[in-house]
């Protein structure tokens, strides 16, 4: 299928420097940050502009070649693993900020820019782009939009979706469309912008985005609340929210996670307690002060053994940076770490934490839990070893139970990592068979030849996990 002629065509479109067929190169784009998934593509292509993207897509569509847009490959649902081969599309030449509009408070950018670089650029102008996935130092904004990434500030500020105002998209037939704009209001037809945010590269290629900015909050304070009882920590979360306080960040880490994070970051985290909450509030100084006092009081009422404020901005930064390393730090303990992001209404967080504990016991597996407790988005992470097939089976059963439990509590199978290939077998649990069918019809309407990131979102068979060994 991937003929010499197609190779030649690709070279003509993007220049021979920007097409790579070397076996070693194919190998390094055969994975993302998801364990157990790996599959070789046929070519790596790096277009230089939208027009070239359009020509590449057209070529793929005419020849039924799969095409997988990829940022930095940090995603956690095998969303950028080229399961059916084809082209992996890179955006290394399309990484420029096009415009920061201080009158409309928007930024227009190409997809290849690193999230944190974008954040630095806008913050230098006193502006704020809140979505901050843990991988923001590495991830690209195009990837964030395709995955609708969340982050630590999701509780108060929402997720990527809430900041995307407009997109330039190359459709699977090669047509280029523009949706939305620098507009607060726009009801002209279907909201394609929202449809494409979180579409996991299955509907088209995003080649440009206009994002909403807000004024940068005046101040920020960071606090740690320590607990000798996981349940007490979880109850504090619900109590804070029900007291009408919405902190910018409200993160939960259990003891094993704390220990490995401290092992890596060496910043003096309390490793002797059963759980901590990492709480941040930002805004006008008076409000922040008042909120933090009240939060401290609520935590103490809910049996926090200690509550302490970070004394300096550096100390605060150290705490949130350390939290962002949690998943990777857990890999210190076992060869394989499998994490999920089942999410429940925030009022159910204590029940979910308890359920996870019970499920881990039932299947005799090690599950560490951390995550964005404030928005009900937990990251139960199983420590295991891919070589131990018997245990891996139990791990999968445990996660299946966790999904069912989350749904039972009014939650979802994935809060921010996406369905990808990892959770496609469970999508129906959340949206029902009819829901899956409706989504499939949308997919077919845009991409009748199924060239856009095939094998994602929709399960191919009854198999629980589409495990592809390389």
């Amino acid at each position: 299928m991937f003929t010499e002629k197609i190779k030649e065509n690709l070279k003509q479109i993007v220049g021979s420097k920007n097409v790579d067929f070397k076996k070693s190169s194919l190998l390094v784009y055969s994975y993302d940050a998801t364990p157990q998934f790996q599959s070789l593509p046929d070519a790596i292509v790096s277009p230089r502009n939208t027009n070239e993207v359009s020509q590449v897509v057209k070529l793929c569509n005419d020849n039924r070649i799969p095409i997988v847009p990829r940022g930095s490959g940090t995603n956690l649902s095998a969303g950028t693993t080229p399961l059916e081969g084809g082209i992996v599309l890179l955006f290394k030449h399309m990484d420029q900020i096009l415009d920061i509009d201080e009158e409309n408070l928007t930024i227009t950018t190409q997809p290849g820019i690193i999230t944190q670089d974008l954040i630095h650029e806008v913050e230098a102008r006193g502006l704020f782009y809140p979505p901050d996935p843990s991988s923001m130092k590495i991830s690209q904004i195009g990837g964030n939009i395709n995955e609708n990434s969340g982050g630590l500030r999701g509780l108060k500020y929402g997720v990527t979706r809430d900041y995307v105002l407009g997109l330039e998209i190359v459709l699977p037939n090669g047509e280029i469309i523009r949706t939305g704009g620098k507009l607060a209001k726009d009801v002209a037809g279907y909201d394609l912008t929202r449809l494409f945010v979180g579409s996991e590269g299955t509907l088209g290629i995003i080649t440009e985005a206009t994002l909403k900015l807000i004024p940068k909050p005046e101040t920020k304070k960071t606090m740690l609340a320590l607990y000798q009882n996981i349940d007490a920590a979880a109850r504090s979360v619900s109590a804070i929210i029900s007291n009408r306080i919405v902190p910018a960040t409200l993160e939960f880490l259990d003891q094993p996670t704390l220990q490995v994070v401290e092992d890596f970051a060496q910043i003096g985290l309390p490793t002797e307690v059963k759980a901590v909450l990492l709480i941040e509030q930002d805004g006008p100084e008076v409000v922040v002060q008042q909120d933090m006092q009240q939060i401290a009081q609520i935590c103490e009422e809910n049996h926090a053994v200690e509550v302490s404020l970070a004394k300096t901005a550096e100390e605060a930064e150290g705490l949130t940076t350390a939290r962002r390393s949690a998943l990777s730090a857990l890999a210190r303990l076992k060869p394989t770490t499998i994490l999920e992001d089942a999410t429940v209404p925030r009022s159910e967080i204590a029940n979910m934490v308890k359920a996870i504990e019970n499920i881990a016991k039932k299947y005799d597996v090690t599950i560490c839990t951390f995550g964005h407790a404030g928005d009900g988005n937990l990251h139960p992470t199983c420590l295991t070893d891919v070589r131990n097939t018997e245990e891996i089976e139990r791990v999968e059963l445990a996660f299946e139970d966790i999904f069912h439990k989350a749904i039972g509590l009014g939650g979802t199978i994935t809060g921010e990592h996406g369905v990808g290939a990892m959770k496609s077998a469970y999508l129906h649990l959340k949206v029902g068979e009819a829901g899956v069918e409706a989504m499939q019809q949308i997919k077919n309407a845009f991409d009748p030849n199924n060239i856009m990131n095939p094998g994602k979102i929709f399960a191919k068979s009854e198999r629980k996990r589409v495990v592809v060994s390389s």
Partner: protein, 448 residues
Amino acid sequence: MMNTKEKQKIQTEFKEKMDYDELLNCMRCGFCLPSCPTYIESGKDEAHSPRGRIAMMKAVVDGDIEPDEDVKRSLDLCLGCRACEPVCPSGVNYGHLLEQARDIIYQNSNQSLPIKAARNMAFEHLFPNQKRMIGFTSLVGFYQRSGLQNVTRKTGLLNLFPETLRTMEKVLPAIPKKSEMQNRPRYLPSLTEEKKKVAFFSGCLMDTVFMATNDATTKLLQYAGCEIIVPETQGCCGALHGHSGERERAKEMAKKNIKAFEDEQVDYIITNAGGCGAFLVDYDHLLKDEPNWAERALAFTKKIKDITSILIELNFHQLDLQLDEQIITYQDSCHLKNGQKTFMEPRQLLQSIKGVEYVEMKDASRCCGSAGIYNIVESEMSMQILEYKMEQTKKTNAKTIVTANPGCLLQMKLGIEKEGLSEEMEAVHIVDILLKAYENCNRLTTSN
């Protein structure tokens, strides 16, 4: 080009020798990517990132790909700066994996005759033998002093060499005379109240080309209150060998050094070259499979300390130190920072000098591109990396760039020369500038 038989041999040895647990320890999160100079300079090519290189090693073990020229290319282009290690939350020992992989590839591929001869000459005959090192470097010294250098420069004979080597020829310090290199002190008393007894690891290049810096190091130690022993039987640390796929030879050199130092009753073994120090502290890993040596190696590594670290311990920074008013910036030695975790100490020392305004450059901890012999064998990438480094240096308006490793020192000198800045900027080793700062004040007090 590698032939099929070589590839098979390499693949088999990968399966047998690579540490598979360590390979699995990489969970592919990508946190290493922004720290990797070759990933950045290659325009974010995953094949030139730590994550990509580990994936390739694992794929060779798993039999998914062959260890072809492209795999070798990717491993060759790695600086070995290990900037990926401190940022890796999973704690992957990338440096160890790289050494293992390079060793297997180099020991099992047939290199072209000239390369083989050059490697053999350098790795087997020159570096392991300090007498030959002295002989060789004194030839360079003769070249510099005899007028031959002038003749060569004038005749354009140097134009036959690649540009990097030509510039390198210009920035090489004046080599001491052979007789000076042969008669090195073996014992030095403390010049103040004695606080510690130390042994000095003098190194191969440091004790020849950079002999003056070694002398400055022992001077500083004497001023700081150290009695110093310099064992005669020590030799090259073996880092160049270890990083270039010559592990067995590196092991021999490690054993020689352990023997040379283990009978000395000292508190520390002091080094002044980040690259050597990081390799010395890793001897226990290098010799982990040799029952007679593992424990002795561990005892040795526990005593290794960089000069800046002991100076801080002995409160040298609280003494009077002064220089002419100037801006100073510091370029981290990758291996001092990533291998020995020493990075605050040099900064603290420089900041305590009166007259000095210390300005931190952006990305000070990013490799300068020297990386052993990398700047000669991978000149193009090395110069690209150096260009970025010089941009950042220039922004600080520093008069002096301070380094803590001979390779970095030469590379920064090279950068200054290339930028045509030799009038307004100089690169120095940290001990040279500290000694000057100390003796400035000392002379002041004695003249009063």
